[in-house]
Amino acid sequence: MASEKMKLEVWKGDWGLPSVDPHCLAVLAYCKYSGVPIEIVKTGNPWKSPTGNFPVLRHKGEAYCKVTDIFSYLRKEHWGSDFELTTKQSADVVAFSALLEEKLLPALLHLWWMDDKTFVDVTRPWYARAIPFPLSLFLPGRTQRKAELRVNLTKGGDYISETETETKIYKEAKECLNLLSHKLGEKQYMFGRLPSSLDALVFGYLAPLLKAPLPNNQLYNHLIQCDNLCRVVNDVLVTFFPADLREMEEKQKKEQQKAKTNSSDNSEFPNRRRNMILAGLFALSAMAAYAWSSGLIQIQITDLDSASSHNKSANSRRGQVTVGGGDGPS
């Protein structure tokens, strides 16, 4: 057995998922299925990753970056539940993994990186927040270019237009979801009661589709109609990643509370009324001051008693406030 503990670096999670990246999710699920003793580092800093991306598995000074490499390494270290499968089922694992890569991955890449609205609203802000400063300026762009290249070269080409490519890859992805749903049937996992590496891959691809709040997610509408696939994803999340669900619930609670306090702030009428009264008073006094300074209002104060006592015979004047037009006091 390994003397040194394995270390797995993955993208950070969000929206109740342990990670946002399909490949990281697949590796995480595989490790959880078989209880691999592994140190999981959730990070947003791919500075030290050899490919500039995650997942990365480090063990005994070696780094493994591709999902297939990580799976085969873990298998070599005798971790995983694929040993229980018959040779026929192992063949199915290879075939369906290829199906996912060929039919579903292009649609996911398109959804996250090439759909303008999603890229601007969700993907780029998320990665810009997760990745530290100098890297955040060019890493999302690089990943986007890579995704575009892959989708356009494998599915598009000079002979078909962009919209046709888009229609084609989403059609293929929906077909792929149907095929997976047929394959799963009513079973708990693809090959009965034990999860295999194929289940890990499927979970990785489907969980972000189901949980991430993407604005243009047309695959979501299709996926929720495949009940058994949704059930498996939710079961895996509840069984193997309860911490992330709790985290999300707490976050939601906090946000709700925040929203509540915000709304109670808004409904605090006394303060508002006081402010209104103060403002009204200020406006009134300002108008009065203007009127007085321009001579619209004159205030004359004469001491009635002393005036009357000084000269009663003089044309008697009272302390008076005269309000008049522009032509001054009458």
Binding site: A95, A98, E102, L149, L153, Y159, I160, S161, T163, Q218
Partner: protein, 323 residues
């Protein structure tokens, strides 16, 4: 832009019972059918102000574009199904002996095997510029009446719309397994063939590039072959295949063949006694890999390890290619 023609007709009594949305589809399908002589062979737009088309299933998020795809599917289905399989179907490909490259050869053979398994009439026509003639830029393609259809999966779809299918009676589970294995062939063997033919320096310089350029005069034969090689290397890079070594590629091919061998087991064909699309595709790939002589002989020894796969190739060959 200005109008060229106005067309219209009364609804038949039964069509009056259609819902509005169905009438709108009817209008589009009818109009395109009527004007097909002007529209065939060209891309065109259909403008519609139909708000009621929006609540159709699966199109709630994307709107117009998908709508058009749906209409296009409906059109292809209705127009395509109305005509039987024509007598003069031609399968275009490059010259087998001198010109065709390894990846193209597998695809041509797979399509040919598929059409033969369906029992459809067709003639193979070799053209040096078949690649440029193809609507998708890839060989092979078939010409059936006014339609040009290229590559394996579109041909399968086209043939299915004419009422011929090898997988109609399969269960859903079997069909999804079949699709998965077909994906595996394209994904692993297809990429491995591209890798060997264009990325491996020995084979690409000695075999693939001279063959690809053989029909052009100097210096075009070098320029075009070089351009093609660059495009193929870009494709392999985008697929993460360019970073693999020859040993890793051979290992992938071994995994793929092992899976196929397990799936085939001792059966006659992959799903019982009658062939399916998968059988055509497997035959196309394996037969080509087994019979093509390339320096270094890649994969031949790998495939020969699996007795039942080699026997399978012989079986299909004698059953469908005996003439």
């Amino acid at each position: 832009m200005h109008p060229v023609t106005y067309i219209g007709r009364k609804l038949l009594p039964r069509e009056k019972r259609y819902a509005i949305i169905e009438r709108e589809f009817l209008a589009i399908v009818w109009a395109v059918g009527k004007l097909s002589c002007y529209l065939l062979g060209d891309a065109f737009y259909i403008e519609t102000d139909s708000k009621p088309l929006t609540p159709l299933p699966e199109r709630t998020t994307i709107g117009q574009r998908q709508e058009m795809a749906l209409v296009a599917d409906a059109l292809q289905a209705t127009v395509g199904a109305s005509e039987p399989w024509p007598d003069d179907v031609l399968l275009y490909q490059q010259y087998k002996a001198e010109q065709i490259t390894l990846p193209d050869c597998t695809q041509c053979l797979a399509v040919e095997a598929f059409l033969r398994m369906c029992g459809l009439r067709f003639n193979v026509k070799c053209k040096t510029n078949a690649e440029e003639m193809s609507p998708s830029g890839k060989v092979p393609f078939i010409q059936a009446g006014p339609y040009l259809v290229s590559e394996f999966e579109p041909v399968v779809g086209f043939v299915a719309r004419k009422g011929f299918s090898l997988s109609r009676d399969m269960s859903d589970t079997d069909r999804s397994e079949m699709r998965a294995y077909m994906s595996m062939l394209e994904n692993i063997l297809g990429n491995a063939e591209l890798y060997m033919a264009w990325f491996n320096p020995e084979i690409s310089n000695e075999v693939t590039k001279p063959r690809y350029g053989c029909s052009y005069p100097w210096p075009l034969n070098w320029v075009l072959a070089w351009k093609k090689q660059r495009a193929m290397i870009a494709l392999l890079t985008a697929n993460d295949w360019a970073s693999k070594t020859v040993e890793e590629v051979t290992e992938e091919v071994h995994t793929c063949c092992l899976a196929l061998s397990e799936k085939l087991d001792k059966k006659k064909y992959f799903f019982g006694d009658s062939p399916t699309e998968l059988d055509a595709l497997v035959y196309g790939h394996l037969y080509t890999l087994l019979t093509t002589k390339l320096p270094g002989g890649p994969f031949t020894s790998v495939i020969r390890e699996f007795q039942n796969l080699a026997e399978f190739c012989k079986r299909v060959d004698s059953a469908y290619f005996s003439d």
